[in-house]
Symmetry: C2
Subunit: 250 residues, 2 copies
Amino acid sequence: MAEQTEVLRRTPLSKDRILRAAVTLADEAGIDSLSMRNLAQDLGVVPMALYKHVANKDELVNGMIDVAIGEIDPPVPGADWKQAVRERILSARRVLQRHPWVSLAIESRTAPTPAVLAYLDSMVGTFRRGGFSADLTHHVMHAMGSRTLGFSQELFDAARSAGRSGASNPESSAALPPQFADRFPHLAAIAVAASHDDASVVGQGCDDQFEFEFALDLLLDGVERLQRQGWTSTRRDGDRSVVSGPDQPS
Amino acid sequence: MAEQTEVLRRTPLSKDRILRAAVTLADEAGIDSLSMRNLAQDLGVVPMALYKHVANKDELVNGMIDVAIGEIDPPVPGADWKQAVRERILSARRVLQRHPWVSLAIESRTAPTPAVLAYLDSMVGTFRRGGFSADLTHHVMHAMGSRTLGFSQELFDAARSAGRSGASNPESSAALPPQFADRFPHLAAIAVAASHDDASVVGQGCDDQFEFEFALDLLLDGVERLQRQGWTSTRRDGDRSVVSGPDQPS
DNA sequence: ACCTGAACACCGTTCAAGT
DNA sequence: ACCTGAACACCGTTCAAGT
């Protein structure tokens, strides 16, 4: 409608409106399509008009990140630390599946944004209330790394810059080239091992959710063990093994 | 010397010479400075001359990655799987410290390069010879993620796009802003906890090497435990905890 | 004082003109 | 047939001219 177009054109720009349009653009067209010029066109304004509300593109991306991080669920109230951390991280992961550009955007930052800091601060608080020392919590946060925010650097991540396509979409599964098994026999063997549906499929054949939870639980179980052992940092003493506690089998 | 310049100008371009110049450029000036135009200028040729040897910039970056991956030490012969994996990953980490652009370059790829595949294949072989089932090895490789290649997504990684500056350089340590402890009390607490040198320093105050090995050993100890328990994938059965084996304490 | 078109300094890559 | 300068279609951002 002409009237509606007129209203939209007349709606004043705001940082909030710019950020929401930028998130939508990145969601739908990919982060590579996010340019000041494209974004301005989507908003029906001249590119330079954006610079009234954001200092530069870096500040725009920072704002976009915080919009996404704000969508992560708050910690579940009654749960113990392990359940609370686990659920929150899986919530973060769901957010990142809605906004696949976020992980790359966060990685490209030189400093964490305010919302990321607030999220991490809250998670540290959950560990501390669960009986973790400040020392152990510090190292645990490092060890979790980007997994804390719901993503991890996968090496076979074909869906990274590609469009959204569920793992259950058989169309997008690339069959192994014939030479692959000859050149990389070990990789071919483990690709077959965990691919329940089609033995000639790798990458897309992996159950991403399972792999994420496998690694998450491996880490959570490991740090739980350290906490129960009363682990303390021994880095100045040359002791290399982090779990060489008293109840180690042999 | 004029003669030497003449010789250099006369030296024919080759993919190898281009790749080595590109790696040097990225090492010294950062990945952002790596453009076809800058690279051509360093080589004393016109930009379009590069396209005789590389199809496009993506292929250039792929080649650069493989140059770097080729610098990783081969597995140590006599060691058991745990030592072999550990040493190799730490070697990869040293390579990435010499070439700080590699992790971002690998992350930006949509598919792994041949040298990365060969490296991963070799590592899978080490696990398999150590008695790991193909099933477990598959999930372990996922769980290790980018750590396999010597890097992990740190959230406070200030030195990411910045120039090289050792963690021991006190000049580059940013003090915590006064409001920080008020807004993010838990983060402030754990920052102080593990900072031995200066309690008001975060980020640069962390011992990156210690944190990397802490997480690496946490994972290696965890997967060793799974392997000893004869862990098998139970993902279709709704069993969520990866370490719920028979010898769990309670 | 405010807005904005043109311009600047880049980029990867195409393509046709020149040798 | 080969090489390469100019051009194309972008980019983030500056800046001065116009209202």
